[in-house]
Amino acid sequence: MKKRVISAFLSMAMVASVFGAAVNVSAEEAHDPVELRFSWWGGDERHEATLAVIEAFEAEYPWITVEPEYGSSEGYREKLSTQLASGTAPDVVQIDPGQMPELIANGDYFFDLRAEGFDLSNFDEVFISKSHEGNFDGKQYGLPSGTTATTVLVNKGLAEKLGINITDEPFTWQDMIEMGKAVHEADETKYLFGVNTHYLTSIVTGTAVPQLTGSAIIPDATGEIAASTEDFTTVFEFIQALYDNNVVPPANYMAAFTGDNLQNDPNWINGNYVCTITYSSMLEVLMAAAPDVEFDIGQLPTWEDGADVVYSMGCPQLFSIPTSTEHKEEAMLFLDFWYNNETSMELQKCTRSLPPTAKAREICAQTGSLNELVAKAADVCEGYLSENSFDDSTTFSTEGFQIISDAIDGMGYGTMTAAEAAEYVMEGLSTLVE
């Protein structure tokens, strides 16, 4: 019996070493079986792709089993916080980048992958050095799962019909007011810009203010508010104008489609919006919701006389290894396989938006899993990238986001003027910074 067990191990080891240099199993070493827990959220497509990668990993490292813990985004955050609070988090976790700043506030929950010697050669160094992509003060607490670009998604047919060209011609935020006015006057059922409060906060305010001031609102480097009340007033007056001129649908209409729910908006489904601004990770969802509409990618708006472009490539999720894990080595092996193994890249396809490494993107383009428009969105966004860092994890932390969001709602419902909204935001952000 013993002889059989040993020979079984030996043959496994030999088979494994035949299959790749990535496997550090020497013929004499036998590994104790290890079970890794890996949690993520997503839809069916992503689950299947992820499970396929897990299978491939398990084949490559037969002594490691990965126990998948997956579900939808519903309740994921609550569960993760409960797990982290009690030291029972899985060995590899998927995290919402918006949550990271709050989670690493005391720095102890995740391993610094750089310090652990993780192989980052496939990544674009600039991309992963940003706080949104997991880099806090030089420590890589997480790695991006994909790349998202800020995108203007255009209803081609409607734009052409109304004589609006934002796909080839660059335009400014201010241009949108005149354009939007004309659109709505021509046809009451149509709007230029289909956005809800969520995106007015994250993308419109999040881009316009830095474009105006040339700096992030609360740069990570300084931790102090770099925008003045006047700056906010200026941008908020612009947003007020969007409402007043019917460039965007009324706030009380959009109340039914808050957050990431534009795909459920009948106006969107019926192609009544000329365009919207969103993240490339949402493109496929949005396009699938309006199958009768022909889409194209637009240019990205800049602020008139403002700072040179302020767009950056973001990521939809991060992967991290909690320090509570008992299997750090194996967890590292898994992440390494996940990011650097070509089979893994192929199997992942684009279920977490554009892949985070150039190599993976190439593979996806070759195997045809990369949606044409999503690729175009990334290309367009790359043309608008900032050289400077506009890292700002405070303003767009959950709480900061809510402050700005409430102010914009106030304007949309007419309970606040632009100036009052600006003051509200300054007050809120100041308390946050304390």
Partner: protein, 300 residues
């Protein structure tokens, strides 16, 4: 040992034995979380750090600096005042109505109970949104009847009644309890009343209603407690909006705790809710001697 036996010989003391499971359960499984949350309320616990004592700071901040708190309190109280009585009346009315021998009564009762079976289902929440959307079915019907259409979801005045409506719609649980209670009323009482010449309505008010007051009381207490803590419907249908018009306390504390990771602060909020509920409950208990009829003649 002897004295233990003697102690439990006295019938009344045997009560301790019967409630033993609960005592063990409470000490083992409920006391610790209960006390922990009180402790957290005096700390700056943010889930990502170890809690450090900050005294009454959370409470002071809650009452003086937090504008959301007073709004949420108001919203929650209004929500409770709408839903509890309305749900009660609906449940009672329907239970009494269905407490009879009609063909197909089993199916009818099941169908009436159906809404409650879905609980805080997300499917139902979406449904409500779809029905009350600007182009939804409700507005279409209003338009068909030449009535003005209402922006239920987007209007700060109608958003709260909307959330209340889904709660009241699910009155089935109370209805079931009333049905059970109605069945407990002895037939002999009705018979005696009929012999004395009492009509149906008199019977109802003099026999039925008084007999089920313990359950009515129970329903009021439980519904009030649950309404003051509720947040699922608000969270899923309107997200607390628009403009925080449906931002009930339960939702605020959930957000503070799990979205902003301010667990210490959320714990303080929950203890404030606790105290409020306790006061309300105590008042209700006090009043109960005036109108609740117990078979054990109030000798609890």
């Amino acid at each position: 040992m002897r004295s233990v036996f003697k102690f439990f010989r006295k019938r009344d003391n045997q009560g301790y034995l019967y409630i033993l499971p609960w005592i063990i359960g409470f000490l083992l499984l409920q006391l610790y979380p209960f006390v922990s949350s009180l402790y957290y309320s005096f700390t700056d616990y943010t889930i990502t750090n170890s809690p450090s004592f900050i005294g009454l700071e959370n409470y002071i901040k809650l009452f003086t600096k937090d504008r959301e708190f007073w709004n949420s309190l108001k919203v929650t109280v209004i929500y409770t005042i709408y839903t509890v009585p309305l749900k009660l009346v609906m449940a009672l009315f329907v239970a009494v109505f269905l407490n009879r021998d009609i063909k197909g009564i089993n199916l009818i009762r099941t169908l009436y109970y159906l809404p409650s079976l879905f609980g805080g289902s997300v499917a139902i929440a979406l449904l409500w949104r779809l029905m009350f959307m600007d182009q939804g079915i409700i507005n279409s019907m209003l338009a068909a009847l030449n009535l003005p259409t209402v922006q239920f979801l987007g209007n700060t005045k109608t958003s709260l009644p909307l959330i209340c409506s889904i709660e009241i719609w699910q009155f089935g649980s109370s209805m079931v309890m009333f049905l059970a209670a109605l069945k407990q009323v002895p037939m002999s009482l009705y018979e005696a009343a009929e012999i004395d010449g009492a009509g149906k309505i008199t019977s109802f008010f003099k026999i039925t209603l008084p007999s089920i007051t313990p359950i009515i009381f129970f329903t009021i207490i439980m519904q009030t407690i649950s309404a003051l803590q509720n947040f699922t419907s608000a969270s899923v249908i309107t997200g607390g909006g628009p403009l925080k018009s449906t931002y009930v306390l339960g939702l605020k504390l959930y957000t503070d705790g799990f979205s902003y990771f301010k667990m210490g602060y959320a714990s303080a909020t929950s203890w404030v809710i606790f105290v409020i509920i306790m006061i309300v409950t105590l008042l209700l208990f006090r009043s109960s001697s005036g109108w609740v009829y117990y078979e054990d003649e109030g000798q609890f």
